[in-house]
């Protein structure tokens, strides 16, 4: 078993002429909660999709638990995308069945209990549920696995502060502690307290990869404050409209 859970070497991904990731070298160990931080368009979702095998790299290499991306690594990853992935005909229970069929590490009873605690009735059709309820179902599915690597793409984007706390609580109380959680977000203040490491992405490049303790010690400021310093946009000055 490889020491590192995520490794990349010179990883590049372009969409046409636009580079989304440029020469990303990364090593992430096990048992960590890692924040993948950066403004919109910095390459966070691209990196996560590459890890899931939903995108193919333009250049460079990527490995999860020492293996190239494929069915073996997909079995280790529990992925929460930034969108709904249900088929229209499905009920929540169909998705629970599907996860049980394909992921040996999926805890069916735990998922049903989580659905009930989230106020979701598994027998109901997903199509009839609100956007928030559908998101809860996806979260329950992802966190009911005892995965090696959780890839959570913007799990707290677009929800109110109370819901953010609820989502973070669900993640923290259900993840496999031997595994690693990679959370992408630009809402750093909300998750800073739970992070072990932070990866700053800017224009497809890794600006910083450090433990949160080291950042606070060395920079003398919070991760959120450092993020604001690094990614502070220069406002347009002068020029009357």
């Amino acid at each position: 078993m490889s020491e590192m859970l995520i490794e990349s070497w010179g990883l590049c991904k372009s969409y046409g002429r636009k580079a989304a990731l440029s020469g990303v070298d990364l090593s992430v160990g096990r048992g960590r909660i890692v924040g993948l931080l950066g403004p919109n368009g910095s390459g966070k979702t691209t990196l996560i999709k590459l890890l899931c095998g939903l995108l193919q790299p333009t250049a460079g290499r990527l490995a999860v638990a020492g293996q190239e991306i494929g069915p073996e690594t997909k079995a280790l990853i529990s992925y929460l995308p930034d969108r709904m992935y249900f088929a229209g005909w499905m009920r929540a229970v169909d998705l629970l069945d599907l996860f049980r069929d394909f992921y040996p590490d999926f805890d069916y009873e735990k998922a049903v209990a989580m659905c009930h605690s989230l106020g979701v009735e598994p027998g109901h059709r997903l199509k009839t549920m609100s956007k928030g309820t559908k998101e809860k179902v996806q979260l329950a599915l992802v966190m009911a696995r005892k995965a090696q690597l959780y890839l959570l793409d913007e799990p707290i984007a677009g929800v109110d502060p109370a819901a953010r706390d609820f989502i973070l609580h669900t993640i923290l109380t259900n993840y496999n502690e031997e595994g690693t959680v990679l959370i992408s977000t630009h809402l750093i203040a909300d998750i800073e307290k739970v992070l072990d490491e932070a990866i700053f992405l800017k224009e497809g490049k890794v600006m910083l990869h450090e433990t949160v303790d080291n950042i606070r010690e060395r920079e003398g400021k919070s991760v959120d404050a450092l993020f604001r310093d690094i990614f502070r946009a220069q406002p347009l000055e002068g020029g009357a409209f």
Binding site: Y15, G16, K49, C52, G53, L54, L55, Q56, P71, E72, K74, A75, I77, Y79, P81, R83, M84, Y85, F86, A87, W89, D94, L98, D101, F102, Y103
Partner: protein, 254 residues
Amino acid sequence: MLWKLLKYDFRSMWKSFALIWPAALVLALINHFTLPYDEGVTQSNELLAIITIMAFTAVLFAMFVAVMIFVVQRFYKGLLGDEGYLMHTLPVRSWQLVASKLICAVVTALVSLAVIFLACLLMVPIRWGQVLRIAFFQDLWEGLLSNPDAMLYLLEFLLLTVTALLLFVTMTYLSMSIGHLFHRRIIMSVAAFIFLDVLGTVYVDVLDQLMVWDELFNAAPHAAFWGVFGVMLLPALLFAAGTVWILSHRLNLE
């Protein structure tokens, strides 16, 4: 894993056709009683007959459209759309995902054809009392035994039908897979379909120049069947292989 994938694809098929298949059979049965086959036609039952036959035709047309939409949508939305975020993160190989969609699409088309055949049988005034008697099946069985070729022809015809469906579905799949490589996915999918169709015409012409068709038409009937089967199976396999290659090496769910 393929069986597990098929389980969910067949569930999706059943949800899509659970209404239209029984509707076609029920309407055929109604037409059996409303169509004026022998009896004198009165104005009132003539109107009813027109309405029911129109309803039946509309359901058959809707079924045809539903099959086409099902074939395209289950692949496009299921593997290249948002549902692809679930399907492509399952620990399965790309060929298994494609095979599952392909098998389900072909079975859907075959069941629809069977429903149409059964509906036509229900609609026409067959005296079932005479047909469904043991002697009829005895005659049928004896007839088949005395002409064993008939059974083989039937099987070959079924095989050709399945192969033709495979060819059409794999061509559609490859077109969508090629289209997804570009920014304008739908336009490029249509363009790819037209291109593959033209390529098919070239393939037929090349076989013609190589005198393959002449050979097949002059061959023994069974040999001709198998020849046509091979001619159709080859591009179907290439289309399927191309689709799998794109999904496993060039997938870009943006």
